[in-house]
Every structure is written in C-alpha cells, then in structure tokens.
C-alpha cells in the first residue's frame, strides 16, 4: 500500500553505511530515483562515511573528511534521508516500516543494509566504564575522550580492526596491548610465518602482543571503572581502557523480528539477486546479508557488488541480469605502517598445492605464493612489502609468465623479476572494488581518449575504491599511451628534455652554477647555445638559488646572469600589480610586530601614498609603489629593522601563528616563538613554488596549520608536523607526518622535508600536488625523511644548513649596490620621469589603480578584436 504517495512506488532503504550509499548510487544510475520515492533511514547521526578509513580520524581527518555522502546527490535525486532515525519495526503484511521517530513509511521494495555490530565476548563486566567497541565515529569520539585520562589501553582481538584500534590507542599516547585468542595475529589473513613477521614488526613499534590467550574477565574498581583484564593463562593485565575488536556479527534483529529467514550463525538469507529467500519484496545487502554461497561478507568490495546486484534486480532490466554468487576476499592493508596483503587461496586449501615462500625476519618481510600442480597461481600472502599485490592478484587463476619464485624475491636479488602489469591478460581484474578489468582500462585510453590516471579513474571508476590498484593503473595508462604512439615527453620545456628533478640532480652533482652552462651542455640539440625560454629560465634560476652556497653560485638573485633568469617579481624584489606598479611586503615573522614597527609601516605608506591591506598571512601589504620608489621604501624599512618578506618569490612566504600558550588559556606550547624560529630559518629559501606555513598552539588549530605546505600543531608532549596542505583553488588537508616531536626533531624533519620537496618536485608544483603525484605518496616521503630509506637525510640537512648560514636580506643588499640600484628606474633615458601610465584614483579614503584604456597595440591591426 502506498496510499500517501499515490501511484509512485516507494523504495525504503534501512541503513546508510558505505553499502547503503552505494545502493543509492546504483539505483540513481538506473533511473529508479526518477520513477520511485526513495526513503533512507539512518541510525547514526551522520550520513554514510568511509568506515574503512575510520582510523584516519586519529591522524587528523575529520568526520567531514570521511563523509561519502554528497548532499547534492541526495537532493538532486529527491532522496528522503532521515539521519538519527533508525527503523524499529517492519510489518511485511502491510508493507510498512516504522521508524524510531514514529514516522511510518509504506514500501513496495524494502532494502536492508543494516551492516553488522561488533561482537563482544560474554565476559564478566564487559559493559564496565572504560570498555568500548570500534565501529563508528561516535565510538572513536568516546575512546578519544576516555583516553585523555588513561595511560594504558588493551585491545581484545588481533585481527585487522584490532590492530587498527591498537594503533589508534598508541597514537592517543597510551601504552597499548593486543590480546588475541589465536596463536598469531591476523589469523584469517595470514599463516604462521606471516603472523611471525607481523608480530616482530608490531612489537618493534612498542606495542605488546599477547597471543594464544583469551579474556576471562574485565577487572573493575569499586566505582565500576576498568582497571585490568584477567586472561586465560591466569595472568592479569593492568589497563585503564579496553576496546573489543573480536569480529563482527550481522545486524539481523530487525529481519528476525519480522519473520525473515536468517542463517544459523546469523545473516539474512538471500538468493543470488540479493532478494531475501522469504519475501520477494525485501532485499538485503552488505554485512547483514547471508549470501547465496552461505557466507557473510565483511569486506566493502563484495558489499558494493551486492548493492549493484540488488539495484539491477529491482530495476528488473532484462539487459542486465547480475547475480552475486560469492566474492574474492583479497585484501591489502597498511596496518600501523606495515603492508599486509592476502589474496585468493592464501592458506593453500586446494589439494596438492605447493608453496613458494620468501622470509626475512630481520627486515620483517614474508611473502608466500600458493601454486597449483600445473603452475597456476592460486593465492598468496605478503607481509612487509605488498607492492606486487596488484599484479599478483590479477594473475591469480592463471599461470604467470615467469617462475613464481622470482616474483617473491626482493628487488635486486639475483633472480628477482619485476613482473609489470603489461604482462596481464585483458580479462584480469585490476580494480576489484569496482570489478574493472585491464581491457576496460586499456579501452579508456584507446577508445575514450583518456591520457591521465584521473581521467581513467573518472571514466572507469577503477581506483576509486580502496585505491590499492592506482599504482598498477598508472603503469597501464603509461604503457598504453606509449603503445599507441603518444610520445610522453616529460621534459621541462622546449629547451630541456629532462624533468626539473633530473636537472636539479645534474646541477647538484656536477656543481653547475650558471644557466648558460647547463643549457649548452644539457639542453636539447636545437636549444644549446640559445637564449632559453620563459619556462626554464626561472625554474633553473630557482634551482641555482636553492643550491647557491653548495654549488658555488652567488646567493643574491640579482647577481650576474641570475638577474636575467628571474621572473619580474623576483627581478624587482616586489610584486607587480595590474597597472605596472608594485606592492611591498616586509617580513613580520610569526605575525608578531611592535607598535613602533606598525607606526613605521604606517608612516612609510602615508609618505609614499600607498594603499595598505592586511594580508591572509598576518602581514601588511603596501600597494601602488612605482619602480623608482622601491629602493627608497626599502631603505626606510631596512633602517627600521625590517627585511624582505619574499612575497614576490617562489620561496617561504609566511609562518602564521596563533598567540599560543603565553596568552591563550588553551595553549599548550609557545606557538609564536616556534613560528618566528621557523620563519627566520627558512626565509629566502627558493623552492619550486611558494611555501606557506603555520604553527598552532593547541589542537583548536586557530593558525589553520593543516592548510599549509608544512603546518605545526602543539601537543602536550611537543609538536605534530603536518605536510602537503593547501588552501586556494584545490584545498587539501595536510597529512600528519610525525607526532610529539621535540623542537630539534621538528626542525630537523622540516629541513629534510623541504629539501626533499625542492629536490623532487616539478616546477610550480605545490607540496600538495607533489605528495599526490610522487610514487608511494606520503608513505614514501615518510620513509625517506623519517626513516632515511634512501640514505640522503644527512645531505638534505647539510643543504639546509648551508642555506641558513648564507641567508642575506635581498633588499639590504640591493640598496647598498649602486650598479643594481640603476635598474630601478622608470626609463633608462629619463630616470626622473615617472611612468605616465601608472596613475591612481581615490577609493574608500585610499588609492586604487586608474586603469589605462586598452588599445591592442600601438598600431592595431585591421580587424583585430577589441578587448
């Protein structure tokens, strides 16, 4: 009965998790949202979010970042979404759902996507104060709050989620324990050898692991709060907080209550179309469903597949008969920084199968492939290094073209073979989240003219799920482009065939300190001996300036040949504005300025008639200076103790700060002092693009450090360093690089990070895009700058030390150099005549440019367009 809505059939979806949201997208794609009323009942107070990435909440991602729900999508498709209002009862006779709020919804089709609930073993005091589960954002918020008063935490369960939870507790500053009943960690995914490699690595991180023991009782004090756990070996573990992460169970109570058939061990029984076996009008998808193959799938990829299957069945489209008969349980994870992957028949359950194992417990590596008698790759386990996962998983079920043992040996070992994805057959599944084959990806390039990974992702959806296949995707796209004859010229410009990174290495290694020398020796054939161009000149000028003290070049950007390489802003040490005048920004480190300093700036601006504005970087910008006025303005600023703020350079701009512990009642560190220290350390550092920074004195983050290239947030124990943030046109939240650093550790890490960025970024590539682009992303950067995996940190630090030691204020240098001063004139033949084009008119008690009338050229061509 759909009396209230007339003839429009209604679909009611119960549950708005990841699979529920996917179901909505699947029915919208099939046009069902246009023909149906769609009602969604969501128990949690927020719509669908990325539960798989839940733990990243603790590394700085907010609930908003985790959201998977585009409200515009919900609105565009007229979906009625009720959050915080779960379904309470279902009346299948009347075809009605009653929500907790009392709302009643009649349905034609009911879809249950209620997910699962964490299993809590029935031990005494399991509900005591200090006991938690790890499933929702609200669970995390509760753990975070309780952990603030705790010192030790224990996680019951050493599976996938348990390890994540333990890592989160450690991140919250607790001494962390993992208690696992099975004899090894991650018993479902890895075997004894993999478990041993994992155990060693995790213990090295300072976590304590107790395997082969069960939890018998939670010990509480007189107030009822947790004080410890009694274990099955008779020992007692003291802990302030317990997180149960011992697996999940399907949430099928609603289904049981309305008489739907459920499995013996739970799960709503469905057929291959995900329709419940009891009622043709009711479907179940995701972790609450017992699939036709008798299994409950707890991974998101099979859940997505079920959502698509149910949507296709509801659409009853003859052309698209999907069925869900089971799914691949392959997983690749990064747990506490350790790669763990298992795929196919990981435990070698097939008859007569053979193992190929490579194990290096010193390096925490364990790789096992399961091979059939005929050489077919059946499955495998990778711990410590799962780079080959994408390729190996796609080969599963076929005979790889090389000997299997060569696939598990580390790179560089004699027989090791790096089997590229080009060897994969077309039908191999590259993206298992979205079931995208290699053939589909190739077609995106050859038939749909995609030329980049983002385009292919958009076209095929590949790589938009868990993201583990993106690396393979990139290799396939490049291979396909090259195969189709598209020459991928990675050169910097028409003058150089090398990338910026390659040119940097050449300049540094060979100590080349002039642009002409570099062009004549390493330029493209036709460019040698020439004048270069406007792309490579500033890029090489920047590299030479970054490395100046090390390669023996002048550190002053207007010296000799370097002057000809600089963009106009760097050449005039000021910012060119639209009418040909300049703006001037003195450095105000950390945004701290004395009243006398403010008065000097005010007097200068008044005396030269400049327009003043406070910038976003806690500084003061003075606009409307004529080129010949610049040295006069600088002289007065330098006399008052100011120096260049480098607002014109691809270099450090500003280190913003909040007022910090000194004044603020919430502050936990002196953010102003740190901001000043950082700004003075990195001032004048030329880089591929501008660099912005900020320091916040507490987690309230008033300085907005997470939107900066490098941002620092104070903690009770020191500083957290975030990198790769950006505001602007494509905002990006910075990623946490390291936590609880001392002052010295913080500065050393920023030294390394900045120098590594300067070394490897493309021209005009901000840290945010650089982090997204470079292979391995944040993990690789962390390996290099924290773990020193490339062994270059000493060099990076010494390059920075040389920069700091040789810094000199460019304004002061210029005003003391008569030859350079001669360049700051309006006309070479009439230095006392101001440029008549630069004029101003009043606005809001200041000035603004009086824009010249535009004529296209002095002698406009016949028929040229007016602009």
């Amino acid at each position: 009965m759909t009396a209230t809505e007339g003839a429009t059939p209604t679909i009611v979806l119960v549950g708005h998790g990841m699979v529920g949201q996917r179901f909505l997208e699947a029915i919208a794609e099939r046009g069902l949202t246009a023909t149906h009323r769609v009602v969604v009942l969501c128990e949690e107070p927020r719509p669908a979010y990325d539960r798989v990435a839940l733990t990243s909440y603790f590394s700085g991602r907010t609930a908003e970042d985790l959201s998977m729900t585009d409200m515009a999508f919900i609105e565009t498709h007229g979906i009625e979404l009720y959050v915080g209002d779960p379904a309470e009862t279902v009346d299948r006779e009347a075809k009605e759902v009653v929500a907790r709020s009392g709302r009643v919804f009649a349905y034609d089709t009911l879809v249950l996507a209620t997910g699962s609930f964490p299993f809590v073993p029935p031990v005494p005091n399991k509900d005591a104060e200090g006991c938690f589960v790890y499933r929702t954002i609200d669970d995390l918020l509760a753990i975070e709050k309780y952990a603030a008063t705790a010192t030790t935490g224990a996680v019951v369960g050493g599976g996938l989620l348990g390890l994540e939870a333990a890592g989160a507790l450690k991140g919250l500053g607790l001494t962390s324990h993992i208690v696992e009943f099975a004899p090894r960690l991650m018993p479902v995914q890895v075997d004894a050898g993999g478990g041993a490699a994992l155990l060693r690595t995790i213990e090295d991180m300072g976590l304590t692991v107790h395997t082969g023991v069960g939890t018998q009782e939670i010990v509480v004090d007189e107030s009822g709060a947790v004080t410890g756990m009694r274990l099955s070996d008779g020992s007692e573990l003291a802990t302030d907080l317990v997180v149960f992460s011992a697996g999940v169970r399907p949430r099928d109570q609603l289904a049981r209550d309305c008489g739907l058939t459920v499995g013996e061990r739970g799960g709503i029984a469905v057929d291959e179309q995900c329709r419940t076996v009891t009622d043709p009008h009711v479907f179940a998808v995701g972790e609450c469903a017992l699939a036709a193959d008798g299994r409950v799938y707890g991974l998101v990829a099979p859940g997505y597949e079920q959502a698509e299957t149910a949507a296709a069945a509801i659409a009853a489209d003859e052309s698209e008969q999907l069925s869900f008969t089971g799914a691949d349980l392959s997983t690749k994870l990064k747990l506490l920084g350790v790669d763990v992957a298992s795929f196919g028949d990981a435990h070698g359950a097939a008859e007569d199968c053979l193992d190929v194992v490579y194990s290096d417990s010193r390096a925490g590596l364990y790789k096992k492939l399961v091979i059939g008698r005929d050489g077919t790759l059946l499955g495998g386990i990778l711990v410590g290094d799962a780079d080959a996962y994408g390729t190996l998983r796609a080969f599963t079920g076929s005979v790889p073209p090389v000997a299997p043992e060569s696939l598990v040996l580390p790179a560089g070992a004699g027989e090791s073979v790096q089997l590229g994805p080009s060897a994969l057959p077309d039908e191999a599944i590259v993206c298992s989240c979205h079931n995208v084959s290699k053939g589909t990806i190739r077609a995106a390039v050859t038939e749909h003219s995609c030329t980049t990974v983002p385009e292919v992702k958009k076209c095929t959806k590949a790589g938009t799920g868990c993201g583990s296949c993106v690396k393979v995707l990139g290799q396939l796209v490049t291979a396909e482009l090259e195969a189709s004859g598209v020459e991928v010229d990675k050169g910097l410009c028409g003058c150089f065939a090398q990338t910026r990174e390659e040119l940097y290495e050449i300049v540094l290694a060979l100590r080349i300190n002039t642009y002409q020398d570099l062009l004549d020796r390493y330029g493209r054939d036709g460019a040698r001996g020439g004048d270069g161009c406007d792309v490579c000149k500033p890029a090489i000028g920047s590299i030479i300036a970054s490395l100046a003290p090390t390669i023996g070049a002048s550190g002053y950007v207007l010296d000799g040949e370097q002057a000809a390489l600089q963009e106009t802003n760097d050449h005039f040490l000021a910012n060119l504005q639209k009418n040909g005048s300049y703006s001037v920004v003195p450095r105000i480190p950390g945004g701290e300025i004395t009243p006398e300093g403010l008065i000097v700036i005010g007097e200068i601006a008044r005396d030269f008639g400049l327009y003043t504005k406070i910038t976003g970087g806690q500084r003061i910008d003075m606009f409307g200076a004529r080129v010949e006025q610049l040295p006069l303005i600088w002289t007065r600023l330098v006399d008052a103790g100011f120096e260049s703020g480098h607002a014109y350079g691809k270099s450090l701009r500003t280190v913003k700060s909040c007022v910090g512990q000194t004044w603020c009642r919430y502050g936990v560190q002196d953010s102003v002092r740190m901001a000043i220290d950082l700004e003075l350390r990195y001032r004048g550092l030329r880089s591929p693009h501008k660099l912005k920074s900020a320091v916040s004195g507490c987690a309230r983050e008033c300085a907005e450090a997470q939107s900066k290239d490098f941002g620092v947030i104070a903690t009770a124990n020191g500083w957290n360093l975030y990198v790769g943030g950006n505001g602007g046109a494509t905002p990006r939240h910075a990623d946490l690089l390291a936590q609880d650093l001392t002052d010295a550790e913080l500065i050393r890490l920023i030294d390394r990070f900045l120098m590594f960025y300067i070394r490897t970024a493309d021209r005009l590539e901000r840290t945010s895009t650089w982090l997204e682009r470079i292979p391995g992303g944040l993990d690789h950067v962390r390996d290099v700058v924290v773990e020193d995996s490339l062994g270059i940190c000493e060099e990076l630090e010494s390059l920075m030390t040389a920069h700091v030691a040789h810094y000199a204020d460019e304004w002061a240098t210029t005003i003391n150099d008569p030859e350079k001063l001669a360049r700051f004139v309006s006309f070479v033949n009439a230095p006392d005549t101001p440029d008549p084009v630069v004029g101003f008119v009043p606005e809001r008690e200041q000035i603004k440019p009086d824009l010249p009338l535009l004529t296209i050229g002095h002698r406009p061509l016949e028929g040229s367009a007016q602009r």
């Binding site: 028409g494 003058c495 002409q516 020439g530 004048d531 270069g532 161009c533 406007d534 000149k537 500033p538 040949e561 002057a563 000809a564 390489l565 963009e567 106009t568 802003n569 050449h571 005039f572 060119l576 639209k578 009418n579 040909g580 001669a822 360049r823 309006s826 006309f827 070479v828 033949n829 009439a830 005549t833 440029d835 008549p836 084009v837 630069v838 824009l851 010249p852 009338l853 535009l854 004529t855 296209i856 050229g857 002095h858 002698r859 061509l861 028929g863 040229s864 367009a865 602009r867």
Partner: protein
Amino acid sequence: MTLAPETTDLKVQLQLEEGGPDWFTVCDLSRLVPGRGVAALLPDGRQVALFRDRSGSLYAVDNRDPFSGAAVLSRGLTGTDRGRPFVASPLLKQRFDLVSGECLDDATVRIATYEVRAA
C-alpha cells in the same frame, strides 16, 4: 680605464620613423643586461622596451602590453621559440615576437617594433 671600450663607447639608438633619417640615442649599450630589457621614453611620449640577447643582437618593441594596457613589456622574460626571439609579458605571460611584434599566443595581436642599432 679598465672598462672594455666597446661597451662604454657604444650607444643604443632607435629609428623614430620607419625608414626615416633620425636616430634617437637612448643609453649606453652597457646598460642592457643580456636577457633582460629596459624601458625608454621617446620625445613624443611613446614608450619602448629594449632588449639585448646572448649573441648581442638588439631588439626594440612597444613597451605597452596590449592585453593589460600597462607599460611593462621591458620587464618580461625573454627567450626563443623555434628560432624566434620573444618577450613574455610579466603580467599574463603572452609572448611577443621581438622581430615582427606578432603575439605568439594570439595571432590577431601585434605590437609595434622599432629599428635599433648600437653605434
């Protein structure tokens, strides 16, 4: 004197009218840094941007950027594109052929050019 005589003695001169007899002296040749420009003011108020390239060739074009109206072309970066010497506007980066005045990024736009010599 330790300065090189060939740069101290030579003057940069512009031809005010195409094919005309008058050469207007702007400055010493030594004021031109290879790869960079300077601005000059003509008696009738026009502005000229003067450049010198690596090989010593001189170029002179109108100083006004036709896309913004500002007199800034003398402050742009120079280079060569397939053998054609150009200056890129420092404002919105359009490139202009220093010999023909043609805009390399918009063929409908052209700026004035001047005969220039060192004498």
